[in-house]
Amino acid sequence: MRHLLSTSSLSHADSVGVLDVAEEMAAVGQREVKKLPALRGRTVVNLFFEDSTRTRTSFEAAGKRLSADVINFAVKGSSVSKGESLKDTAQTLEAMSADAVVIRHPSSGAPHRLASSGWIDAAVLNAGDGTHEHPTQALLDAFTLRRHAAQLAGRSSSGTDLTGMRVAIVGDVLHSRVARSNLWLLKTLGAEVTLVAPPTLLPVGAHAWPCTISYDLDETLRGGVDAVMMLRLQAERMNQAFFPSTREYSRSWGFDEARLAALQSAAGDTVILHPGPMNRGLEISAAAADSDRSLILDQVRNGVSVRMAALYLLLSGEHHRGTADVQTTQKGTST
């Protein structure tokens, strides 16, 4: 992996490989000394053109646990409107000899530009671009689901994928980079995906995607799913006529208490995910978010391990060699 821009370009082997390395990283997180020397002397820049304390903190923790020098570089909205700032900023980072740039940007494709324009030599890691992709979110979701499935089956998750798992992604698919990244990765890992949304919040062209499309959340839940991923809804979308009111949206596509109750009374082990930050009471009820079916806190926890794996693999060359290195390093540091 030279860059991590999208999950659509990850092969099955790549994807399982990242998740397996993330498991190794998670094991490190359980130890007394949580730090690995793997990226000592390497510089990782968190380049954020959009505020996201959660994601930035997660990447920062990941970089630091790998002993990288982590620099946070926030660019204010006002300077983004001047078109050349991405190029200027990239060249500044190049002058600082950044080895990896973790970029969050409001424009779809900005990480792609950074990686392909020749402005910078560093590895580029997409931490969310516009309404395009958010690959580490999808990887951490897959990691969380894989662990959950392994736990149910009473086996180790390492080396496994998500074959046969039924996942519903619910909400504003049109504007969601999380939904896109998840769809591609879940398909690659063998899951069956249903997108559930009001027709206005599905992109024209989604009919060609490798998934089932539904407008009816209750029907989808009754059909049986192993996981429900709720997407964040921006209430302002109401003003652009995507739906009549937040109340109507919640009633039809929110994970409310009635739906939670229906799920609790059914057999099955359906779990609930949300990429955060949540609008409690809008797309998800507080009861659902805090229920024993919720994996939302696991998602946050797993984020660091997955991001460690991504950084590690980007900055240490080949996959299997990388995995082997982690193991050696672990042995080395634990003695």
Binding site: R113, P203, V204, A206, A208
Partner: protein, 443 residues
């Protein structure tokens, strides 16, 4: 517009399907054709293997001056036009200030005369400041020394149906034509690329085909209702071709243009997120490209217009959403038309003369342009070598714009010479000199 000392004998040029004809140019006109031309005392241009076309007329050019001289000037843009085989261009009105008064269109016209590379025909704005609120002084622009006949708010759609109706009616007084940039504004707010399978994956806001087609449908019906003619700029979708075909069958006076880039490129290029492929209307699907070619071949689409839209490099050296829309096109137009229409067998070179010279000259009522290559006609002539192949290199172009979507591609065909009013603005494939008299006229 003659080079008083210039007598040129174009020797052995192919005229349409015919082969090996001589053309004698004298005093800015075609003095003799065929056997009578041969043997005269003149500078001989060996045109064996070349195609002679009536000087090309661009239906749609952005010269950027006044106001954006960093992007292009009338001098550089019209030199680029000559290099591309053009002898006339329609300069769009979205300059700064907007070409919405007799004063501005006369200024642009004057700059064109002074540059001397091609006939610069200013297009007047339909509404004041392109704001879509009040009609600009269309009559004053028509009656000015620039003699404006084409009016357009290009870059912006005349979206208000009543204003469009009135504009269509009003210009009948001086046989003008409204050239519509068909884009329903509400359906394209924030639009970044064609809406469909690719925009869905890339997460870029969609510019749906219906936003173009709904305006075209409305405008042809308005033109029918008031008995006016309407011209549709840069048609980009299969559905638009269908609508225009339908309108023409009903006898509605509609003409339409297509750009070279819409004849060749598709939205798949946007996967790169390289803003050189960002243009308005956006690149569409392969099905649209095929429909546009078929429409151009059967006459549904009348002409090619380059929509040459140069931008300074910083306007493209950025993220997709921040980048400006537009592509250069003057210096690649003939090659792209050859590749998509001639080399595919859909059109012959006679037809290229129709879609790139006669047709645009007729729509814009450009005097002395788009004329047959016959004795007594003004010597506006373009010589094309259809057997040439060349790599497109934006940095070698005459335009200031480096935003060619064809950069790095190998394209067929090359413009070997351009005669503008009997004067060679291009010789041996390179810019020669502009016409000098034009400057004298303008004083």
């Amino acid at each position: 517009m003659s080079d008083s000392t210039g007598r040129y004998l174009i020797s052995g040029a192919g005229l349409g399907a015919g082969s090996g004809t001589d053309l004698l140019i004298e005093d800015g006109r075609i003095a003799a054709v065929g056997a009578e031309a041969a043997g005269s005392n003149a500078e001989v241009i060996d045109a064996s293997g070349l195609i002679a076309l009536p000087g090309l007329v661009d239906m749609h050019t952005h010269l950027r001056e006044p106001g954006r001289e960093d992007a292009e000037t009338v001098e550089t843009g019209s030199a680029a036009a000559a290099q591309g085989g053009f002898t006339a261009v329609h300069a769009m009105a979205n300059s700064s200030p907007v070409a919405d008064t007799a004063g501005v269109v006369e200024q642009v016209h004057h700059l064109g005369l002074r540059a001397g590379w091609v006939d610069v025909r200013p297009v007047g704005a339909v509404t004041i400041g392109l704001e879509g609120q009040r009609l600009a002084e269309l009559g004053a622009m028509a009656g000015s020394r620039a003699g404006v006949r084409v009016f357009s708010d290009d870059g912006i759609c005349v979206a208000d149906p009543l204003l469009m109706r009135r504009a269509l009616e009003y210009v009948k007084a001086f046989d003008g034509v409204i050239a519509q940039h068909a884009q329903e504004p509400r359906l394209t707010e924030g639009a970044q690329m064609n809406e469909g399978a690719v925009s869905a994956v890339l997460g870029l806001a969609g510019w749906p085909a219906v936003a173009e087609e709904s305006i075209i449908a409305r405008d042809v019906l308005l033109a029918q209702h008031v008995g006016s003619r309407v011209h549709v700029c840069h048609v980009s979708t299969a559905g638009s071709v269908e609508l225009i075909r339908w309108a023409k069958q009903r006898g509605i006076k509609v003409t339409a243009e297509v750009t070279p880039h819409h004849l060749l490129l598709t939205e798949d290029l946007v996967h790169s997120y390289d803003p050189v492929y960002k243009v308005n209307p956006p690149l569409r699907t392969d099905a649209d490209v095929q429909a546009l070619r078929a429409g151009l071949a059967d006459g549904t689409i009348d002409v090619v217009g380059t929509d040459h839209a140069p931008h300074p490099s910083e306007a493209k050296d950025c993220e997709w959403a921040q980048a400006a829309m537009g592509m250069t096109g003057l210096e690649t137009a003939v090659s792209v038309v050859q590749q998509t229409m001639v080399d595919t067998g859909m059109l012959d070179w006679d037809a290229v003369g129709r879609i790139m010279s006669t047709g645009p000259a007729a729509i814009g009522q450009v005097p002395g342009q788009g004329r047959p290559l016959a004795v007594g006609e003004p010597a506006n002539i373009t010589l094309v070598d259809p057997s040439a192949r060349r790599q497109v290199e934006p940095s070698a172009m005459a335009t200031k714009g480096r935003n060619s979507p064809f950069a790095g591609r190998e394209l067929p065909g090359a413009v070997i010479a351009t005669f503008f009013g009997g004067h060679p603005t291009v010789l041996d494939g390179r810019l020669n000199t502009p016409v000098q008299e034009a400057a004298a006229w303008s004083k």
